[in-house]
């Protein structure tokens, strides 16, 4: 890219960002839109549910795009029945957090490694241009040790979609049907705490996403209730833990009987601990951790001056 072109691109980016943040009456009247992309029904709740609920509580309008159908995560249910139940339960959970709509793209869980990344990107790009979010939450594709690799594929596609959504040469037909380019100013990368280096920025420069911990005390209960609404997945987790313990001649007294009460208690222990892990060494008592790329990380400081 030559210097002039680079300067023009930067000027355009700054202009677009100013438009989004601009103080025109029309912009102020519009509701701030939060778009959340998730691979599966549970990941975004466990990693980011409290923060999202807080934004929606404050008046933002929330849309959830759930990429897979979660058809694998059950115990003794067919894939079809699992998909049906998790769809219903994920919609209930999203409602508890305050989402306005949930879109389920229906990809089979665990099969995203075989899906074209471009296809996945363009499916997500569609929703970015449709909803024109001010804030986007995506799975962090750079988080290591996240065994559910669907989250990696979705994170990678979503990050690419955010960039491509702002450039008119991607998906020209979308423009024909009224889906104009859109720059999403704020980006939150979320992940459950698997990566031991999650509190380090990917680089020391200020131009990349930075670690950020946010207080979720006020929405903790909503997050917990949303997580508990995922009954099929939670039952599967409880059964898988019990199965492992039994096969090694151990037991967990809590799971001697697996019923709604014991499974809900297990979820509660999990949600409490996750909030504690994220709050460690911060000023908060219950938190969530992100890598955050706000407007200040997208424009090099030399241009802002």
């Amino acid at each position: 890219m030559n210097f002039l072109k680079q300067r023009m691109t930067t000027t355009l980016l700054v202009a677009s960002l100013l438009l989004v943040f601009g103080s025109s009456p029309a912009a102020a009247a519009d509701k701030k839109v939060v778009l959340v992309i998730t691979a599966d029904a549970s990941d975004y709740i466990l990693a980011a549910g409290g923060t999202i609920a807080k934004m929606l509580d404050a008046g933002a309008e929330g849309y959830l795009v759930r990429v897979t159908n979660d058809d694998k995560d059950s115990w003794d249910l067919t894939p079809e029945e699992t998909a049906r139940r998790t769809r219903e339960e994920s919609e209930q959970a999203a409602k508890i957090l305050g989402f306005k709509e949930v879109e389920s793209l229906g990809y089979r869980a665990g099969e995203l490694g075989g899906v074209s990344p471009t296809e996945l990107r363009d499916r997500i790009l569609f929703y970015i241009r449709l909803y024109k979010p001010a804030v986007l939450f995506i799975p962090n594709p750079y988080a290591e040790y996240v065994e559910v690799l669907d989250r990696f594929y979705v994170g990678q596609a979503a990050e690419d979609a955010r960039r491509a959504a702002s450039l008119s040469n991607y998906q020209p037909p979308f423009a024909v049907v009224g889906l104009e380019t859109h720059v999403t100013p704020e980006l939150y990368y979320y992940a459950q705490p698997f990566d031991p280096r999650r509190r380090e920025a990917e680089s020391t420069a200020t131009f990349v996403p930075q670690p950020k911990a946010l207080d979720i005390a006020s929405t903790f209960d909503k997050k917990l209730r949303a997580a508990q609404a995922l009954k099929t997945i939670n039952h599967s987790t409880a059964m898988r833990i019990k199965d492992r313990l039994e096969s090694t001649d151990r037991r967990l007294p809590l799971l001697d009987e697996i019923n709604e009460e014991s499974v809900n208690r297990l979820v509660e222990i999990n949600i409490h601990k996750l909030a504690e892990i994220a709050a460690k060494d911060t000023e908060h008592s219950q938190a969530e951790e992100f890598h955050y790329a706000g407007v200040e990380y997208q424009i090099p400081s030399k241009y802002l001056q």
Binding site: D71, K72, S74, E144, E147, R240, R244
Partner: protein
């Protein structure tokens, strides 16, 4: 001594040594079966191979299977089919030396793996995981970066997907027809060229005895097709001679034997380096994912509240 040199020396002296990694015990294997899953015939024994861990598991009474995903047709001087056959033969000899029970070769085309659907390689691994129900799987790190070998990247990802999905009954439900039930692998020991690129976080070392290293060192050069060459042995000795040096241990050995001996020393050096950095004599480094890894919020609770039946 100039002032800034003094400051540098003082600063270095004040710097704490790099933290030593904790030593991982062999897990209390329930099934006492383990799988070593690698793209190539020789990935078990080199600087970043897991042969030390393999021999430790075997010594502790475990049964191991080596799954070779590729056909290794590119590795060696003989051309496609010949190299494939020789390398498989030597993989059997080298892993037998480590105490491995069998080599299962999946025969995917070596260095053509980018075009292969990950789901197809993964499907074979899930079947084998459900068949053997391993208490431990060792392979390359699925989150590894900077590995320039495309087979290493592809197989590591396939292993990552297979150990994740093998525990879900709705993944390959046809396996039930064979009586193969879903199974979650409780212990994963991943290795990687940890000094190759930035950002690696090995979290344990496995302490090795001289006997572990000896077997690893032999299994390294047993891959004669790719690891031993008389001309290299001859050249090394000539170089030493030019500099007026000689190594008494190499006296009386053929050029090939001398090369094998030097290869063994390189394996000892690699194990000694990891050991030295971690307060033991010999070691191997791993990223270990333990029994409750999928549930970081439940790990502490499960560890302190699970009781014997």
């Amino acid at each position: 001594m100039k002032v800034f040199e003094l400051i540098t020396v003082l600063a270095l002296a004040a710097m704490p040594a790099a933290a030593e990694l904790p030593i991982a015990d062999i897990p209390p294997g329930h099934t006492k079966t383990f799988l070593v899953i690698h793209p190539h015939h020789d990935d078990h024994s080199w600087d970043y191979g897991q042969a030390g861990l393999i021999t430790k598991l075997v010594d502790a009474g475990w049964t191991g299977y080596y799954i070779r995903v590729s056909n290794d047709e590119k590795d060696g001087p003989h051309g496609y089919p010949h190299d494939d056959m020789v390398n498989l033969f030597e993989a059997r000899e080298a892993t037998e030396n480590l105490g491995i029970t069998d080599v299962i070769s999946l025969n995917w085309r070596n260095d053509y793996m980018d075009a292969m659907p990950i789901n197809e390689i993964r499907a074979q691994l899930i079947l084998l995981i459900r068949k053997f129900r391993p208490g431990l799987v060792t392979s390359y790190l699925p989150w590894g970066h900077y590995d320039r070998n495309p087979d290493h990247r592809k197989v590591a990802t396939a292993v990552g997907e297979a150990v994740w999905l093998a525990s879900f009954a709705n993944v390959h439900p046809e396996h039930r027809k064979l009586g193969l039930r879903p199974y979650r692998v409780p212990n994963k020991f991943y290795s990687q060229r940890f000094d190759y690129g930035k950002g690696y976080e090995p979290n344990v070392i496995v302490e090795l005895s001289e006997s572990n290293v000896r077997r690893k060192a032999r299994s390294y050069w047993v891959h004669r097709n790719v690891r031993l060459s008389g001309s290299t042995g001859r050249r090394m000795r000539a170089l030493l001679k030019e500099q007026g040096l000689e190594i008494p241990e190499l006296e009386g050995l053929s050029d090939i034997e001398a090369h094998a001996r030097m290869q063994e020393w390189s394996m000892y050096d690699a194990a000694r380096k990891v050991g030295r950095e971690n307060g033991v004599e010999y070691g191997e480094m791993f990223s270990r994912l333990g029994e409750w890894h999928p549930w970081p919020g439940l790990k502490d609770y499960l560890e302190s509240n699970a009781v014997d039946q």
